[in-house]
Point group: C2
Chain length 203, copies 2
């Protein structure tokens, strides 16, 4: 048990310990670090979070986080707005952006269909997606959802709602063997799919 | 490389990443966590650090962190003010307090003598310690410093300055085998000392 002889330190430790994966020991390390900083540094630390909470908005097009009305991705003229990648949340946008492999735009659903958690299609940003697909019009909709029952259900639900047009291709993330995986540790379902959907060998 | 499409998120991530041991990935996890919290929670988060920096003081007796003029330990009438434990920094106070084994008071030096880092005796709170020892007067001074050359030098320097009085006992933390250690992994110096200073077996 950490014994702190200051209520101020105690409160700071408590707050740091609300962060995911942070226990009281690490929270104390953070607090002592802050105590060693000068006032300017601590002010900058605090201001970043205040501004984040006060000023962050939702992109009116794709529901991604945005500093203004629209997010930087939707505002970027070099990106192909006719290719829409459908994701569950903003973390997924960041993950895909970090690969540097995608030059289209996103649509953040804000969740996936999950009856257990009481989340139905009406709770997701599906309507705005359908409107965008029609309005642009989109050439491709990519489902970048998890390979869980909820993910598959959500993709299927949206797929049924999408307009049937020859110009619109609907795709999903490739399923297969993760880079660096040994064959013997892969589950049968993944291995089966990766044989069925095998790709051209390009050394 | 994490690609964040928001300057506000980027700034929050940067600030979290200033914390010790926190990289950009964890900093992002913290930031997304904050984004999910309501305003009250984020305000409480921010306020704890603002108050910490604005209101924290140094105990006028022992130089520990304090919410007011003196720290809670020095103010606690149940503690024995005649037993003074000399430590390098406030983290050491917290560590010893967390053991629940000490009912005396502390004296925080604010560092240890380290010529390499340009820290001499004059940079430490030695004078106030000597005054306390005389004024109380102290019955025991415990050196709870690291077993490094710097720690030993600091203890020796202070020891030479302490008044030679029969009523004053000067002690240091026991050296020996850490709880849970296997004999074969212990260095010779520690093992040698722990045989020389062996203690009564109390099963």
């Amino acid at each position: 048990m950490l014994s702190l002889s200051s209520r101020l330190v105690e409160k700071a430790v408590e707050q740091f310990a609300t962060l995911p994966g942070i226990g009281r020991k690490t929270a104390l390390r953070f607090t002592l670090h802050l105590l060693r900083q000068d006032k300017t540094a601590v002010d900058a630390f605090i201001d970043a979070f205040r501004q984040l909470k006060e000023s962050i908005r939702e992109c009116k097009y794709c529901h991604n986080i945005a500093d203004g009305e629209a997010c930087e991705i939707c505002l970027d003229a070099r990106r192909d707005a006719t290719i829409i990648c459908v994701v569950e949340n903003i973390q997924d946008v960041i993950s895909i952006e970090s690969t540097g492999q995608f030059r289209g735009v996103y649509h953040v659903l804000g969740g996936i269909i999950s009856p257990v958690d009481g989340i139905g299609p009406g709770d997701l940003h599906v309507d705005t997606l359908l409107k965008r697909v029609e309005a642009i019009p989109a050439r491709e909709v990519i489902f970048a959802l998890g390979t869980t029952i909820e993910g598959e259900t959500t993709a299927y639900y949206i797929f049924k709602k999408l307009p049937r047009k020859e110009e619109l291709v609907v795709t999903t993330l490739a399923r297969g063997i993760a880079v660096g995986n040994e064959l013997e540790y892969i589950d049968e379902l993944t291995l089966g799919r990766s044989i069925t959907h095998r790709i051209r060998f390009e050394p």
